[in-house]
């Protein structure tokens, strides 16, 4: 009986132990499920967060402005800006009465441009640049660009005509406040269509377009008043750009040019050629009109290596003009060579200087400093005088040299000062002429914000 009781007791004990083990097993299984579910839920949450991040529009603000873009970068809107506050101070300038020329020493808002650019539907880029610095707002750039590939792009609208090297350089990166005498002979912005591209990662750049046609050194209005168009093109080579020859990587050379027929004074001839100080050194006399073929040719090149930068171009502008029954083909030429050296050692480039140590006096950082120098000449065709221009008041040539100091506080802010001296050629009558009766000497300063 006792044995039976013991056996029964052992069975009860065994049963309760088995039940406990089964219960524990079940608890472990449930806990295992919970852990697995939590782990997977965490993975799903991470996947969802990653997916959401991929779909979230990207907003960036920095030295390159404000950029808002869709997650896939197919739609991007960028806001940039450029403000240039200049001073010009002229020395030894006397008018034909012996008085100091009035009105040319000035504080000047040279450029004040909000720059809107971006991309829509991945391959279509746009740019819109108004300028509020003049007496009235003007549209400088307004174009749409289709990018099939870097080597095949089409641009339509108002933009820089592909001829002059310094003209094509962005305003904020030029060595001096004002472009050289060579730029007097190349077109500025014009309205038209252009096929262009960078082949071989920029080893070859090409551009070919058809435009309304503008006079030397002039910007286009928003429409044209004559039927003839102008063709312009440019080829620029940087053959060593992608090689390991670092000393030659930023050697670039090429040629730009244009050809067209112009028969209108409204758009065909420049109102004036300007000095470095933006004063008139030459003007056609009343009644002179563009009267046919006009072509330009501009071999050009630059070389940048380390802190050293060198840029040069030569321009021929050949144009048929008429006055009454007289006509002539005038061949004007200009050239310039400019060089810079970054004293603080940063690399000089066609796209400016980026300080290694942006201005921060508290950290004893002072930005980058560059010295620059330039020499330029402009030669007006001798046949221009006296029928088409007044030799007493217009120079037949000019030679300008300039030196300057550029202080790059950071990527966006630059302060610079320069001195320029321009001498004039020709049979100028000091009693009739104002600007060109003596050499122009001018000191420029600029405070520039560009982002």
């Amino acid at each position: 009986m006792l044995a039976g009781g013991l056996v029964a007791g052992q069975r009860v004990l065994a049963d309760s132990t088995t039940d406990a083990i089964n219960e524990l097993k079940q608890q472990i299984q449930e806990l295992d499920q919970k852990v697995r579910i939590l782990e997977r839920q965490k993975e799903l949450d991470t996947e969802a967060a990653d997916a959401k991040a991929k779909d979230t529009p990207r907003i960036t603000v920095g030295s390159s402005g404000l950029s808002v873009g869709s997650a896939d970068s197919n739609f991007v809107f960028q806001l940039h800006g450029q403000v240039q506050v200049d001073t010009r101070t002229f020395f030894n300038d006397r008018d034909n009465h012996g008085h100091s020329i009035q009105g040319n020493d000035t504080f000047l808002l040279r450029r004040a441009r909000p720059i809107f650019s971006g991309t829509v539907y991945r391959d279509f880029d746009f740019m819109f640049v108004p300028d509020f610095a003049g007496s009235s707002p003007q549209i400088f750039d307004a174009y749409l660009n289709y990018r099939y590939a870097p080597w095949l792009q089409v641009r339509a609208g108002k933009f820089k005509t592909p001829v002059g090297l310094e003209q094509l350089q962005a305003d904020q990166y030029t060595f001096f406040n004002e472009r050289s005498l060579a730029t007097d002979l190349v077109p500025n912005r014009d309205i038209g269509f252009q096929l262009w591209g960078d082949v071989g990662s920029g080893r070859l750049s090409y551009a070919a377009g058809v435009f309304n046609g503008v006079a030397d050194g002039r910007n286009s209005g928003n429409s044209d008043f004559e039927d003839h168009r102008e063709f312009a093109g440019r080829i620029f080579l940087q053959p060593f750009k992608t090689t390991s020859l670092t000393a030659l990587q930023n050697l670039g050379f090429g040629v730009g040019g244009s050809w067209g027929n112009t028969f209108s004074n409204a758009t065909g001839l420049p109102s004036a050629f300007l000095t470095d100080g933006q004063q008139q050194l030459f003007a056609y006399t009343n009644g002179v009109v563009a009267s046919g073929e006009h072509w330009r040719l501009s071999p050009q090149g630059y070389y940048y290596y380390g802190p050293f930068g060198l840029l040069g171009e030569y321009v021929i502008s050949n144009q048929k003009v008429a006055k009454g029954s007289s006509s002539a083909t005038l061949n004007n030429t200009a050239w310039q060579i400019a060089a810079g050296w970054v004293l603080t050692g940063e690399d000089a480039t066609y796209a400016g200087v980026t300080p290694r140590h942006p201005f921060d006096p508290r950290s004893n950082q002072w930005g980058a400093v560059q010295v620059v120098a330039r020499y330029a000449e402009l030669n007006i065709d001798n046949n221009t005088f006296p029928t088409y221009a007044n030799p007493a008041t217009s120079a037949s040539g000019a030679e300008a040299w300039a030196v300057g100091l550029n202080w790059y506080l950071n990527k966006s802010i630059r302060v610079n000062a320069s001195y320029s001296r321009t001498t004039f050629d020709g049979n100028i009558n000091p009693k009739a002429a104002t600007v060109v009766r003596q050499p122009e000497e001018v000191v420029f300063t600029r405070v520039q914000l560009a982002f």
């Binding site: 499920q33 697995r36 579910i37 997977r40 839920q41 799903l44 996947e47």
Partner: protein
């Protein structure tokens, strides 16, 4: 002039000769989650047939994901020559929102453009430890159900509607009771995967859950690949006739110059060989002869269609799956 004519004639002859050469054609088939294996086999067979027929080499690329997400991708610019999705609503969306497919697309191919069908069944672990036999067992406390998210997965919408249709039949078409049933079912769903294949992986490989609600073809494939010693297929008493449709994407195929081959590709699915491949990959074939040949593979059960119970996909989508629809309400109730 003679020289020019000679040159011109040679040029034309060269162009004609060039056009007579065999072409290399690429198609993109944008499909839903579990069709990877099916279309891998279909693509090989079709390419072989097309090569024999025309001499052209056709290469078919596949893209897979949740059906709703795939449709969205096509609308957003994924250049699909053909779409083979989980449900007609997703192709309707491409036709309506993307304007890429003719509105009457479903009438262009036989059987409402669904060359094969499937249904919704259960996969449970070997031995069926939770004793699951029918839909009612899925709402019992403690049963963990794996099904994907109906907002992103076509398969999940079929699962949801199958459960809803069962509850309606059981409760004399009482919509409130059906909603309560499905609410309780989703209360037992611990995580929502975005696609049917993800849900299968979660159940089969990660060992999560007691029962997977899935396409019949997906469960049969899991049994084949993982072995019958690990899982069991449970056929409920009632389920839904799932009709995954196919269509060529008119605008894209036209732009790619692939319209002819895209149509031929989809028609191939209806051919005896295409139907055989579908059956071998556990899709129910439409062709009677093939269906009879593979009859023992597919359990018999009562099937209802979306049109019969829900008035079509447009209505079902709007009522149940659109934002603030019944599924959103169910999820809110279960939080």
């Amino acid at each position: 002039m003679k020289t020019f004519l000679k040159f011109f004639s040679l040029l034309i002859a060269a162009l004609l000769m060039n056009s007579a050469y065999a072409k290399d054609i690429t198609l993109l088939n944008v499909s839903y989650d579990p069709t990877r294996e099916l279309y891998r086999e279909v693509n090989t067979a079709f390419a072989r047939e097309w090569k024999a027929k025309t001499g052209d080499t056709v290469s078919i690329q596949q893209s897979h994901g949740g059906s709703g997400k795939q449709a969205r991708s096509v609308i957003d610019g994924l250049e699909a020559d053909v779409v083979t999705l989980a449900l007609a609503y997703d192709i309707d969306a491409i036709a309506e929102k993307g304007k890429l497919i003719a509105p009457d697309w479903q009438k262009r191919l036989p059987d409402n453009s669904t060359p094969y069908t499937s249904t919704i069944v259960f996969l449970v672990r070997k031995g069926n430890p939770k004793g699951i036999k029918d839909w009612d067992d899925l709402i019992k406390p403690g049963v963990k159900v794996v099904t994907p998210n109906p907002k992103t997965s076509g398969g999940a919408r079929w699962n949801y509607l199958a459960a809803w249709g069962y509850a309606l039949k059981k409760n004399n078409n009482d919509q409130a009771k059906a909603k309560d049933f499905v609410t309780r079912l989703f209360r037992n769903v611990p995580i929502l995967e975005s696609g049917a294949r993800g849900a299968t992986t979660t159940f089969v490989q990660r060992g999560i859950g007691d029962v997977l609600i899935a396409w019949e073809n997906e469960t049969l494939l899991s049994l084949k690949e993982s072995g019958a010693d690990k899982f069991e297929l449970i056929t409920p008493s009632v389920s839904i006739l799932a009709e995954p449709p196919v269509a060529w994407v008119d605008k894209i195929a036209k732009r790619h110059g692939t319209e002819e081959v895209a149509k031929a590709y989809l028609n191939f699915l209806y051919s005896p060989e295409g139907q055989e491949i579908a059956a071998k990959n556990f899709y129910r074939p439409r062709a009677q002869a093939v269906a009879q040949k593979y009859a023992d593979k597919f359990p018999k059960l009562a099937l209802f269609t979306v049109d019969e119970v829900f008035g079509g996909w447009q209505k079902a989508q709007k009522t149940h799956f659109d934002n603030d629809g019944i599924f959103d309400q169910i999820q809110a109730d279960n939080r």
